[in-house]
Each structure stands twice: as C-alpha cells, then as structure tokens.
C-alpha cells in the first residue's frame, strides 16, 4: 500500500458549499454529518459517499454521489443525490473552474431597482457567484458575474447592481454558478457604477474586498458605451474599500467626467461591454515614526493562484454533504494505490 493516500479533516458548516483542496487527488470521498447522526429523527443527510472515475461505470455523476439520509425518523434511507428528490451532492474539480458544474438555472425576473432583486427557484448559498446570461430585457448585464446576498429558495439580491436607472426589468434569463476565485488573483472585476467625485467611488458586481486592499492600484477599462470615457485606461490607487457596499474609492478626480451609465438594453448586442477594472500593482506607504507600513496584504496583493485544484466541492444545505448551519462535518479522502 505504498502509494495509498488518506486524508481527512473536520469543519463546522455555515450552510454554504465548501471546497476541500485535495493535493493528492481522490478516488473515493466520504463525509459524516456528526451533528445530524446524533439527532434522533432529523430530516437531513447524515452521511455521503463519492466514487471517482477510477470506478468506471460505478463512478458518481457530477453533483451527485450516495446519500445517507434520515427522513424524519431514525431509519436510514440510502439513495443517490440525483434521484427524483434531488439535492446537490459532490463535485470533483480538477482544473481551474470558470463554471462550477451545476445545471443552468432559469430566472423569472430581475427588478429594475437599487439593488436589483432576482426571482429564481434556486439552491444557491449566501455569497455565491453567478453568471447571468440569455436575459430577456436587461441585455446590458448578460454575461456579467454577480455575488448574491439575502438568498432564499425563491430569489436573491444583487448588491452590486443598482438598476433603478434601467429602462425596464428583465423578465427571463439564466444563471450558472461560477467560482469565487479565478485561476489567478487578484482578478479583473466588473464595474457597475462610478461616481463623479474628487475621489471616485467605484461599485463592482462582487465584493471587491475579497481581492483588493487600500494601497493597491487598479486600471480602468471603460468602453465609450458606458459614458465616463475619461476614466478609460487610467490607473488609480485605492484609498478605501467597502465590503458592505461592494465599493472601492480611488484617488481619481472624476467630478468633471461624463456620467457613468450602463448602455441601454436596446443597444445590445452592438454596444461595447463591459466596464472592468484590473490589478495594476500597489503603492504602499510607510510611517517612519510608527514604523508602520500600510497598503499591502500578502494574501491578496501579489499575483497568485486563486483557486487550488484539484478540490472536492461539497454542496451546502440539510440535504447536501456540507450540511446545514452549525452542523459538524467529518470528511475523509482516499487515493487508491491501483
């Protein structure tokens, strides 16, 4: 058994999906929800197993696996995550993902409000990233990635999109969940708003504090269709970051610039898209009296791999491997010798 590799660990669920890096890859993966195992008659998954491609015809499908569930009694029901009463299971990812293997999901509406609210039956978790495409109405946002918040099974809020100025709501569309981290970070971000101010405030479609800190420099790419062409190709230094509002403040005086605005939906597909910002290094400062250096974070600022692969994605929720909020999950990964 010289090359059989076992790995394992434990985490407390937040109810959201969990990525477990697997440097040695995996052929078999197992979780136990120790919280629900101890409960007398929960209505929840208590354990789950995944079989890799090495098992050939017996391998688990994407977003599936074997589901061990107590359905309101102490009796175990063992089936697959992809049965008629489907729930999200395991997804094994070996390459840097843009799209996490989960089925496309139909939207029924996106409000023209600030912030915009999406109506959609979904199994997403708080803070997930989704790419919106094939919209009916609001064509100007089709293709963009958004971070979602205030998530319920019937919809969520797009904190990064203030759509009150849009001509009309979207009446249909699709989403796919995408990775929160690009293959390399810091990554480019979609811009949804830039204020006219002595220090421009830039709103992005996702929380920028995941990637940028005060002192980092960002480069603007704003096509003429977004109005504020004066800021196009400029580089600014970040002076403030707001995780709550998805905004960055930069040392660019935009007060005399043309107003930033999304092109009209009717202008698509010929209007140039999108307005984006990208990492352009950093400009740190040093206080010789206090000996404090600011404007830098080693975990975020240097270019580095954003998403380690391979990893196992455990979907979150009571009917999924990563469990519900506060559940304690034990996991084990097996790399077989032959």
């Amino acid at each position: 058994m010289a090359f059989t590799i076992l790995d394992g660990g434990s985490f407390t669920s937040t109810g959201a999906g969990v990525k477990i890096p697997l440097p040695s890859s995996a052929d078999y993966f197992k979780v136990w929800n120790t919280t629900q195992l101890a409960a007398a008659a929960p209505n929840a998954v208590v354990g789950a197993e995944w079989f890799g491609p090495k098992f050939g015809v017996g391998a688990s499908a994407a977003n599936s696996g074997i589901r061990w569930k107590k359905a309101g009694s102490s009796a175990l029901v063992i089936d697959s995550f992809s049965t008629a009463t489907a729930s999200d299971g395991f997804t094994y990812v070996v390459t840097s993902p843009n799209v996490e293997p989960q089925a496309a999901n139909a939207i029924t509406a996106i409000t023209a409000a600030s912030p915009a609210v999406v109506s959609q039956t979904n199994t997403y978790s708080e803070g997930d990233f989704v790419r919106i495409y094939n919209t009916t109405g609001m064509l100007q946002i089709a293709g963009m990635v958004f971070q979602i918040s205030t998530v319920s099974g019937s919809g969520y809020t797009l904190t990064g999109l203030r759509a009150a100025g849009f001509a009309a709501a979207a009446t249909a569309g699709f989403t796919r969940r995408v990775s929160k981290n690009a293959a390399v970070d810091p990554e480019y971000l979609y811009i949804t708003e830039i204020t006219k101010a002595t220090q421009a405030v830039v709103r992005t479609s996702v929380d920028p504090s995941n990637y940028y800190v005060v002192g980092n420099k960002i480069h603007f790419s704003v096509p003429p269709s977004f109005g504020m062409s004066e800021i196009n190709q400029l580089t600014g230094t970040i002076t403030a970051v707001s995780a709550a509002n998805y905004t960055l403040t930069v040392d660019i005086d935009s007060s005399a610039f043309t107003t930033f605005a999304f092109p009209a939906s009717t202008a698509s597909p010929t209007a140039q898209l999108f307005a984006t910002l990208s990492p352009a290094g950093s400009q740190t400062s040093f206080n010789p009296v206090s000996q404090v250096q600011t404007g830098y974070e080693f975990q975020k600022t240097p270019f580095h791999t954003g998403q380690f692969t391979p990893y196992m994605f455990l979907a979150g929720g009571a009917d999924s491997p990563a469990g519900a909020n506060a559940d304690v999950i034990n996991w084990m990964s097996y790399k077989l010798e032959v």
């Binding site: 495409y133 240097p302 270019f303």
Partner: protein
C-alpha cells in the same frame, strides 16, 4: 514633513535591507539573504507629469513632484508531477521507458507552464467584447474593427510592439507584415480569423524563416498565435455560447519569473528508495514559477464568440 518631497513616507522601502549580490564576492550568507520570502517584487517609477514647468524669472522654484513607484508582486509557486514505474515495465519493455517517461515529464513541465500563463491572462486582464461581427451575439465573432480598437488602446498607452515587421519580397501571393503586437487565440475561432478583413495567413508572409508552428495569421498590427488550450468560458455570452478570451499585448506587459536553479528539475528515485522490496522506481519533474501582469497599459484583449 514638507509637501511635494519624495521620501520614505510616500515611497516605502521594499525591505529593511538592500541586497547587493554583485558587490560581495564570497560570503555565503549574502545568498541566503536573497532567498527571504516567496514574493517577487518588480518595481517601476511612473513618469513625471509634463504639466507646467516654465520658470517665470521671479526666482520662485517650481513645486517638486513626488515620484511614484508602482510595485508589482508575484508569489513564487512550485508545481510537480511524478510517475512511478514497476520494475517489470523496465524488465519486459524494450523501448527505453525511463528515457521516454523523462521526456514526457519534460513536456508536462512546458505545457503546465503555458497553461499557468494562460490562466494569468484570462484572470487578471480587462477584456472588451467584440461587437463588429454578424452572429448577433454579445460578444460577436472577431472583426477588423474590434482588432483596430485594441490597437488604438495599446498605442494610446504607448505600448511597444513585440515582433519586427517582415519585409516585402518579390513572391506572388505574399505581403509584408508590420511590426506587431501579439494576440493569443483558441483554435476554435480559426475559421473566424480567416474571415477578418485584411487577414494575412501565415503562408502569405514573405519569409517563413523563424516562424513558430503555433502562428496562424497577421491582422493589422497583431500576429495571432493559436492553441487548442487557449482560454474560454463556457456559456458566458448573451446567448449562452462559449466566450473565447484573446489577450493582446506588447512588450513587458507580463512576466514569467523563474526561481534560480528551480526552473526545471527532473529527478529519479531508485527502487530501493521508493519500494521496500525494490520493485518500484520513480521519476519526477518540478519547477517554480511566479507570474504577473507587469503593465496593464500594455495589455488588453477581446472577448469573442464563434460565428458558427
């Protein structure tokens, strides 16, 4: 502290010591100092403003300008691959598997390196959707207008071309190429590249000497190189099609940094080390790399879909 003075308050030192490898000859501790940390820093002093500057004869000096240094940092990362070979393979196979597997690991190293740079371009650069095509999608397929727009951006940012022009020659069906920026595209869009107005396919270059196999064509100020592994994003267009990202750049837009003595390590572990009964040996390849976009002004690119 006086305003307008370039000092360590607005230009922080990178490290509390300065490494001077060339001046000290033998002390080994000096080399050890150079290996502190795993973050590589590249720096650039931004050019000074050309506003004002005229002396009016009153004796008043012009205000000093604070010099700005941009630091570009990259994390050094190590990648490795291994192959374990049972002795029966080497005993019964006559095709020199260890040699061939070593070559295979060498190929893996360069392929992996290529993909890592692809990922950098795909993740950390701003792209503009092509809109000059006719497939009705957003982005559209690639067009001459879209390519010209990127050339305008790069030239507007004073980017320098990567490749020299190829002079015209007295050969039928050929045309000279201009000094050019580089564009990296997917093999999936080669039919669309052929349809771009003014495209000069590689065979129509006046001189084929020194051309890379992966080069496909020249359009305007860009030479296009194609790969089956180029970056693409499934289902990201307005209509849900695959979007292909095409980085287009000039000199010094990006950097691939190698660690001293670690750019390509190939190793062999004999059977008595790997296996308790000395039956399995092991080959491995390992390399270290740091990657960074060093100047966003000199790189841009297009998002496109395929026409078909």
């Amino acid at each position: 502290m006086a305003n307008g003075i370039t000092n360590i308050n607005n230009m922080a030192p990178e490290l509390p010591l300065q490494f001077s490898e060339d001046l000290l000859s033998t002390p080994m501790f000096n080399y050890a100092e150079s290996h502190i940390g795993k973050t590589t820093r590249m720096s650039r002093y931004e050019r000074l403003s050309t506003d004002g500057g005229q002396l009016d004869g009153s004796g008043i000096d012009p205000a000093p300008e604070v010099v700005v240094r941009s630091d570009i940092d990259a994390t050094m990362e190590i990648y490795a691959k291994t192959v374990v070979i049972n002795e029966q393979v080497t005993l019964y196979e006559n095709d020199k598997v260890l040699t061939k597997f070593t070559a295979l690991l060498g190929q893996w190293m360069r392929e992996k390196e290529d993909l890592l740079m692809r990922d950098l371009y795909a993740s950390s650069v701003s792209y503009i959707n092509a809109v000059g095509g006719i497939n009705g999608d957003q982005p559209s397929e690639i067009s001459r207008n879209d390519i010209n727009n990127i050339e305008r951006i790069l030239l507007g940012n004073d980017a320098r071309t990567m490749l020299e022009g190829i002079d015209a020659m007295d050969k039928f069906g050929t045309a000279p190429t201009r000094d050019a920026f580089i564009a990296l595209a997917s093999t999936d869009i080669t039919p669309d590249l052929q349809n771009v107005q003014g495209v000069l396919l590689k065979n129509a270059y006046p001189n084929q000497e020194g051309l890379r196999p992966e080069e496909y064509c020249s359009v305007s100020r860009f030479r296009f190189f194609v790969s089956s592994k180029a970056a693409k994003i499934p289902g990201a267009s307005l209509q849900g099609r695959t979007v292909y990202t095409i980085p287009m750049y000039g000199l010094e837009a990006a950097a691939k940094i190698e660690q001293n003595n670690y750019s390509a390590t190939l190793g062999y572990r004999p059977p008595y080390v790997v296996s308790s009964v000395a039956q399995n040996s092991q080959l491995y390849a390992k390399f270290a790399i740091a990657r960074a976009i060093t100047n966003q002004n000199w790189i841009s690119g297009l998002n496109v879909t395929a026409r078909l």
